[in-house]
């Protein structure tokens, strides 16, 4: 069964409106994108949607440190992943890019610090 889905690409603030042709759960055409990322987004959004999580971890010293998943995780796992990140144990100082969690709940995604915090 062929169908057309309209998506808004979330890769960057351009927010391109994508017209996606879908047949049997597979993407057969993408238009409206202004770069390659749009095509990749349509593909993953239709078959296995993912998101990047950004949140904070409170260090043992009580300071919030901003972190992100260095790779996107399945959209359906946002809440359990956020909870797992929250419970990570972190000590100051933290350097930007430092790995906080090596493999987040088996997703293969690393969690890294997004800011250097010394004290």
């Amino acid at each position: 069964m062929a169908e057309t889905r309209i998506l808004t690409c979330i890769n960057c603030p351009m927010g391109c409106e994508l017209t996606v042709g879908v047949e049997d759960g597979k993407v057969v055409s993408v238009s409206g994108n202004t770069c390659k990322r749009g095509e990749l987004y349509a593909e993953s959004e239709i078959t296995a949607p993912t998101r990047t999580i950004t949140t904070t971890v409170i260090t043992a010293e009580g300071r919030p440190v901003p972190v992100k998943t260095a790779q996107p995780i399945p959209k359906g796992m946002i809440f359990e992943c956020t909870a797992a990140i929250k419970s990570a144990e972190v000590h100051l100082p933290v350097k930007v890019g430092q790995v906080i969690i090596d493999d987040l709940l088996g997703t293969g995604a690393k969690v890294t610090a997004t800011k250097s915090v010394s004290e």
Partner: protein, 421 residues
Amino acid sequence: MAEMRRFDLVIVGGGPAGMAAAVSARENGLESILILERDSELGGILNQCIHNGFGLHTFKEELTGPEYAERYADKVRELGIPYETGAMVLDIAEDKTVTVLSAAHGVEQIAAKSVILAMGCRERPRGALNIAGFRPQGVYTAGTAQKLVNCEGVSVGKEVVILGSGDIGLIMARRMTLEGAHVAAVVELMPYSSGLKRNIVQCLDDYGIPLMLSHTVVDIKGKERLEGVTVAAVDNTNTPIAGTEQYFPCDTLLLSCGLIPENELSKNCGIALDPRTNGAVVDSRLETSIEGVFACGNVLHVHDLVDFVSQEASTAGAEAAFYVKNGRTPDETIDVTVGNCVRYTVPSRIHITEPFPDAHIRFRVTGVFRNTSIIVRSGEAEIFRKKNRILVPSEMLDIVIKGDKLKGLSGEINVSLEEEV
């Protein structure tokens, strides 16, 4: 008394605009630069914007706000550009004497040959919104809540309504949800959101948070602590419609109702402001009405992309360096006027000088327009045209007029939208 400190360039503000301006001024040969930042670290608003989506234009990768800030702060340090934090500028005089208050120097006057205004913007507060009701705890601007949650690690509330669909409000809807709060609704007065589409998708739709367009908050209940808000639909004159009221019990109301460039210093200095942007009137060199004083970033006009802020600030830095070395050059300028459906342009004047550099014109449209062309004309002659599927007020547009198209022009050029037939 100690001798007054002197710099070729003083930059007021160490956020993305101030840092990019400093880097560019140094790369254009200016040695004597000082950045003054009132917060305890460089980075400005980016430090609290922990979400991602920054830097695709500048660094060709998707960064979070703090990462983007740290890259520029590292550049500032690598280049050895001096900056002082905890330094609050109190006054800029017309002769470019900068009065600054800091723990390190007390009240100090600094002499500058040129100044770049990079103070950013602030949020429209509740007092400017005329919402009826008490003044209980639990009403925050979205950015204040963002700073509390992300930088102080404080929990703001559990049951949330957000008024205004600006980007910070949308981002905070998701952020509060991830922090365990329930966001009942985002309420927007206008028939369209003032935030980016991608944020509606990934911050509201992903979490099933309703966006109520053409609605507003008409009452705030609760004396000590917020108890709830009443939301009503509005008609096309933005007047609440009787009988449409809905009550939402909540302990937190976040306001995301627009940003205002922070120009108190500019006003006191006597710099001409543009009532459409609340920022300085500038020419294509980003020079204000006072010689040697430049403006860039959110203090000039509110941006939605930090990448555009960095670009604009980089121009300001280069132009300040050029000014310090050459002084003001006498050359021709033309005015930029707005036509159909265009709210403002930055700059409002373009220099027409050898070697005829390309000119950026940044602007916003007045509503949502489908299938239109952006057209720039000089008299009858068309010097620029670009088709667009959709233009919205929430997205700043940036067009580039080729230098050779500007050669020999005089008088004014006009930017307008026209329907495609």
